[in-house]
Symmetry: C2
Subunit: 246 residues, 2 copies
């Protein structure tokens, strides 16, 4: 068996998330189907983590064990062309047998795109969350650094999550506005993120940008360890898993 | 009756083109349905021209006669929110009764996007044509100015077009490469374009960029007045009607 690591991108619009489910089309299932056919035997893939329905990936990392070694570009091209059009295989490499796409993650980078144009762009309806209200970007920029560092992010975790330790470290948190002034792009880099954490962070930041919450609210929300203190959960179509680092 | 001019954008992916057809969903039909409901009487719209199935618009212009005057932003917002999600109404204004969205066109600007990345981006599969071969952009830049000026573009018109005068003037023809180096964006500005003209021009330019046709071929192709001399017709999903000027 040869262990392969692959970087894949997918348009999450028509997927019920990354991970195999009892119902709905999933990325895992589609990719496994392709590799299993190629290997002529059942192959399971492991992702760096789940992504929810509608969430996209620019750089999800998977690993799998293949029965024999294949030239890398042949492997990449074969996987890329045989997976459905909404999945792309960007690169493939052979890794040590103890490489694990989930256990060994050091950092993850997520991007969150918000369409703030009027009207909403038909081209971004599946690729950015829409925020039709006024946004003061300076207020968001004031609030963002308060997320940096190591904190218990209970307030920014969807209730019902079974994870016990909700302490995470955020290394980078910023926002940019595109040239046309009609799209915000948030970037978050951290050692890991809780369930729906980025979407709750963005929902809270938009509330601050819209002046319905003071720009210095984040430290108290974090300290309160209560999901009810934070803002709403932003929609999944704006979220992209951009990069996973090991 | 009050004549309104509106600028609309649409994602052409799920439309059988702009103009009403015996079969398939069309932009004209969807927008007319909305305005007719709003007016409580049958209203017909007129576009600056057709766009084919799969072709997009960032700035298609339409006009229509509405039974009474409505505040502009109310009109725009009402149309925008009541049309389907793949159509956006960007602006609305009242124009003179003799304004006509098609007859009075002075210039049209089209954009054509080509995904040249490996692999093809799943996010651009409906929004850019894919060209998986090597492209020498310098060769395309060498060829582009040969389209400028007034010419009989018979060689760049789909056979079967019923237009008699195939003389058109092109004012601007250029190409840019995006920062990531994986997308070409062509821009063409002219007094009008023949049926599939941009797509044949782009198909020919890509053939030149791929070194399967000399970079100085365009003048002879134009002079030959024969569709068979030009390259293939590029796919519709890369084409955007960007702006119409009056």
């Amino acid at each position: 068996m040869v262990r392969y690591k692959a970087i894949i991108a997918y348009d999450g619009t028509n997927f019920n998330g990354f991970q195999r489910q009892s119902t709905g089309r999933t990325v895992q299932e589609e990719v496994e189907k392709t590799i299993t056919k190629m290997a002529n035997q059942r192959v399971e893939i492991h992702g760096s983590g789940r992504t929810d329905a509608g969430v996209h990936a620019l750089g999800q990392v998977i690993h799998f064990d293949f029965p024999y070694e294949r030239p890398l570009e042949k492997m990449r091209f074969g996987l890329d062309t045989q997976t459905p059009d909404d999945v792309a295989v960007k690169s493939v490499e052979i890794v040590a047998d103890d490489f694990h796409s989930r256990y060994l993650v050091k950092e993850k980078i997520y991007e969150f795109r918000v369409d703030i144009g009027k009207p909403r762009s038909p081209f971004r309806r599946f690729y950015a969350s829409y925020f039709p209200y006024a946004v003061d970007v300076a207020k968001i920029e004031r609030a963002l650094p308060d997320f940096l560092g190591t904190h218990d992010f209970t307030s920014f975790c969807a209730t019902g999550s079974s994870v016990e330790d909700k302490t995470r470290t955020i290394y980078e948190a910023n926002v940019t506005v595109n040239e046309a002034g009609d799209e915000l792009v948030f970037t978050f880099r951290g050692d890991g993120f809780l369930y729906k954490m980025i979407r709750i962070m963005v929902g809270t930041l938009l509330k601050i940008g819209n002046d319905r919450m003071p720009a210095d609210s984040i430290p108290a929300i974090i300290a309160g360890k209560d999901r009810n203190l934070a803002g709403p959960t932003a929609h999944p179509e704006g979220l992209y898993l951009k990069e996973v680092r090991y």
